[in-house]
């Protein structure tokens, strides 16, 4: 077959063995290219899928704090702590995007979250590939990319900081390994920059200082690399002394071990979306395996790097959150899952599976386990998608009303909270959108056709702030002759009002955007008397509908 035309022209000088070797090299290159092309396609498809899960989302929870407080580049906006985290990297990104795209394009944040997650996954999968080959790395990479347990991070733009801590640590680790192969300062410098970015992303990155210190201390390279960990460490310490708000004053030291144990076991459970007990058993086995590695002197600095990173993360989280946080929280599980899988990958050697049959079995096992992981944890991904969508739609409904009635609303009105803590006041929100010149709800024209949750939230805020209401009056009405017509209801146009008389006790149910017949929580009991139903003017479309339990008891007046 290979006696083709090229033989005579290009490769005539090669011997037979050299030719075979050459062809194999070409094949290998093509095969590798093909594999990376596959990785690219897979990443694109997964990215599109994950991006689709956040369609129609907008800012939620902590993002509102950045929305109002970190919209301008300033030293304070960049270095201020966020819940005890140094967040200079996400703060920079948010401010940059606010300035470039405004508030109207949340898609940028959604896209960024997916991209950061895919980068973390690619780096992790590539580490696995380097040790165990494509056949094992590819299924694990897909399982990590579609990891439902970490859905909160993947589907929430704000978590670019949390994921960024891990991303830049993985980059720093890789840069450090490259720097061992050279003698110049380029790679060490990149390593230090990556460590700085990791620390600057969130608290998740602090462990990267510790790991780099561990990898370099008391090694022949210490004199060359000491600054790689020390400089970021000093910088972080300086920031901590000046800015960090300690939210761990109430931490109980005795709660830390259990918190760490639960975090770690929940992370394993989260890989497959199974009960905690299985994760606990697996962590027990991993601890035993680690002890075995240490006792048999098989543990190296490299194999211990990831365990140190993830263990420090759990300990630090427990220190700050043991009494108030949830060790099962999706954002913590994300780091735990990567930490555990990479720890196992770095410490396990597959060289003992020399028999082809055994090696195949291992690969098949990994594929099956990865498929089970995706299958089992996918419901968690859907859960987080639904949660963020619900929160986003609620925010859209509320903010549409706030913007439409901006002149009537008290600036101190609380719009969004995290638990009992207010995170967005009406005044701050309006000031922010005025300053940036765009708004998350500027494209909302007609709330009547908005999603169900947005309409419900809009009605709630409309009624609770009194922009639509039924009030008793002392005014005398005349010509009260007609009764509510179809379906026992009256309609009030924006800016309008309807007078009516109630002759005996009735219940009035009100709705503007939401389905009048699906609720009952806005019921108002009206005693006999004169009333006005009014709706303040806006451009959101639709009318206020007031339905009465008994239309014969209501007379509409001119």
């Amino acid at each position: 077959m290979w006696q083709g035309t090229n033989w005579d022209f290009g490769y005539g000088s090669l011997g037979y063995e050299s030719l075979v070797s050459y062809i194999m090299k070409v094949d290998e290159k093509q095969s590798t290219l093909l594999k990376w092309f596959g990785v690219g396609i897979a990443s694109l498809l997964i990215g599109i899928y994950l991006f689709s899960l956040t369609a129609r989302n907008t800012f939620t929870f902590d993002e509102w704090m950045f929305f109002t407080d970190r919209r301008e580049f300033s030293f304070h906006a960049l270095v201020s702590g966020h819940n005890g985290h140094l967040s200079i990297v996400p703060a920079f990104v948010y401010i940059f995007i606010f300035k470039t795209f405004g508030y109207a394009d949340y898609e940028v944040f959604r896209l960024l979250a997916v991209v950061v997650h895919l980068l973390v996954t690619l780096l992790a999968a590539d580490r696995i590939r380097q040790r165990h080959g494509w056949a094992i790395a590819a299924p694990i990479g897909i399982a990590l990319a579609l990891m439902g347990g970490g859905g909160e991070n993947i589907l929430w733009g704000f978590q670019i900081g949390f994921m960024g801590g891990l991303l830049f640590f993985l980059i720093a680790w890789r840069c450090y390994e490259r720097s061992l192969e050279t003698s110049n300062l380029t790679w060490p410098l990149w390593t230090m920059i990556a460590v700085c970015l990791s620390v600057g992303s969130a608290g998740t990155g602090i462990a990267s200082i510790l790991v780099m210190f561990f990898l370099t201390i008391r090694t022949p390279q210490w004199k060359r690399f000491w600054w790689v960990s020390v400089i970021p460490g000093v910088m972080y310490a300086a920031w901590y002394v000046r800015y960090a708000g300690s939210d761990n004053a109430t931490s109980a030291i005795q709660a830390i071990p259990a918190f760490v144990a639960r975090s770690s076991s929940s992370s394993v459970s989260a890989i497959f979306g199974i009960d905690h007990i299985w994760g606990q058993l697996a962590i027990g086995a991993l601890v035993a395996y680690s002890i075995h590695l240490v006792r048999s002197r098989k543990a190296t600095r490299s194999t211990l790097a990831m365990p140190i990173f993830v263990l420090f993360f759990w300990l630090a989280t427990a220190y700050g959150r043991a009494l108030m946080g949830n060790p099962d929280s999706s954002r913590y599980l994300y780091i735990g899952v990567f930490g555990i899988l990479l720890s196992v990958s770095e410490s396990v050697t597959t060289t003992q599976w020399t028999r082809i049959h055994a090696a195949k079995m291992v690969k098949v096992g990994v594929v099956v386990m990865s498929a089970l992981a995706v299958w089992g944890s996918h419901s968690q991904m859907r859960f987080w998608s639904d949660i963020h969508l619900s929160l986003s739609e609620t925010a859209v409904g509320q903010l549409s009303i706030v913007e439409a009635h901006r002149n009537s609303i008290d600036p101190a009105t609380i719009i969004q909270t995290i638990g009992p803590v207010p995170v967005l006041l009406a005044g701050d929100y309006l000031a922010a959108i005025d300053a940036i010149g765009s708004s998350p709800v500027q494209d909302v024209r007609e709330l009547v056709s908005a999603p169900r949750q947005a309409r419900l939230a809009a009605d709630d805020i409309l009624l609770s702030f009194g922009f639509a209401r039924v009030v008793g009056t002392e005014n005398e009405f005349v010509n009260c002759v007609s009764q509510p017509e179809s379906q026992n209801l009256i309609s009030v146009e924006p800016g309008g009002e309807v007078n009516f008389v109630v002759t005996q006790e009735v219940t009035a149910t009100m709705a503007r955007f939401f389905d009048l017949y699906s609720r009952g929580i806005n019921d108002q009991v009206l005693e006999p008397g004169n009333y006005v139903a009014l709706l303040k003017p806006d451009t959101l479309g639709g009318s206020l509908h007031v339905q009465f339990s008994d239309s014969s008891a209501v007379m509409i007046c001119e």
Binding site: W278, Q280, L281, I283, G284
Partner: protein
Amino acid sequence: MLRSSKFYFKVVVSSSCALVIAVYLMYLGRGNNFFFDEWMFVVSRRGLSVDALLSPHNGHLSALPALAFMVLLKFFGLDHYEAFRFAAVIVHVLVALMASLLIRKNHGWSIGITVFVVIGLMGAGWQNIFWGFQIGFMGSLFFFLLSLYLLDHGRAQNGNISFLLSSISLACSLLCAGLGVAGLAVIAMLCLFSADRQRTWWIPVGPALMYAMWYLKYGTSQAKLSAADGVPLYASESASGSAAGLFGVDQIWGALLIGALIYFCARLAIRRGLTLRSVALIAFALVFWTMVGLSRTVVWEPNASRYLYVGIVALIVGIFDLIFVSRPVNRWALSQKVGMVLVAFLAVWGSHASLVQGAQWLKNEGDIVGAELAVVEMHRDTIDPSIAVDPLHAFMLPVGAYLSAVDDLGSSAAIDPQELPIASEQARLGADLLLNSLVKPQTMSDSAMCQVENQPEGQIQLTPGSTVVLKVLQVTAYGISRFAPQELSRAGMQSIEAGLFQIDIPADVVEVPWTLTFENPTDVRICDM
């Protein structure tokens, strides 16, 4: 042959440990009384008969414990529960002894005695240790361990007598409780799949046939195949609960330990270091948890003390069996022995609170029923014999059945009625609950009975044997209490319609007055008679 002084030293130390542990456990369990299932044996298995011996108890073949109860009831009656407690403590010590003997033969005396102390003072197993009824459950475990020991001994000494005794022990294990089925499975595995199966195959056959015959005649399956999907979770929770119970720590730490054990087993399996014998106890525990999981998933209690007991013993012996096959040289260095003692100390220290609390809990239960039985005996002629002595604490004990047991045995499990006023609050509340059943307002039609009407206070005191006539003006509620405050009464307030009522307060040997409490005194009048 003269024994060395070292031997006598070991015997003295071991015996002293056993004695001290037994005395301490008897001390902790002082004041207990019959509890729960024991009443079923008291009521229906007093007399020796085939049915009394072979009838299943919750699906278990319980011939030996039933026989033990018959003997103990015959000799000690109902008023010496100490004898039943003593039996439980003895069987428990025997379990600890057998476990330590199984470990001693591979790991030496010092490790064996350490294990003996740990199992002897195992807090998580309090329910078995202090509850006389559990001689069946513990007995089954003891006979299984004995059967295993004799099987090992027979193989080492080439002795058929040991094999015969092993078979008999296995049969005894089956005769004690359903736990013996797990033992049968393991012994069968060891005998039928070993290299010397031609010599040992018959060991499980006799017990298996015996059990099969019993099952065909009396057996009722408790297992539900529909519960099979819950078994893995049940077994893992049981395993981690047992490991946690050993040290008295949270279940998550137990799960981590079990995970480590799984890793240890997997490593041994990969290196082909596992033998059938080395996994016998772990297999026993797995079969046991599977059986319980299949039959008890509706009542999800993998961490019940009685189950933890079995799990802990099996895990301890099983782990030492695995250690034995994993070590090329099976000698314990002094530092390792010290480490083992330290771990043992942590186990005893950590689980001791459970031991004390468990004993106290059982004593409290016994106090309640003992006080209620005092009321039953004081009012034996008037109390309804069909009602349960206590719908919560002794719902399986009808008053009539108890009184016939008392008459039959000539002894009583009740406390002295004069001690009722000073009994624990829970006991006094239990006594009041029964007393409430004795007092029923009788409707009177003759209004002339009420000549002079007095409005009562919120509470009125009534002497035993007295009668009071009430005129209720409109629907209200009243409560009757005697030994405990009405506010805590388990009977609560009873509704009463408008009308004229006579209430007779029964007389008894206790002089404490009764208290009649009215929800609204203005709705009631006391009539002078």
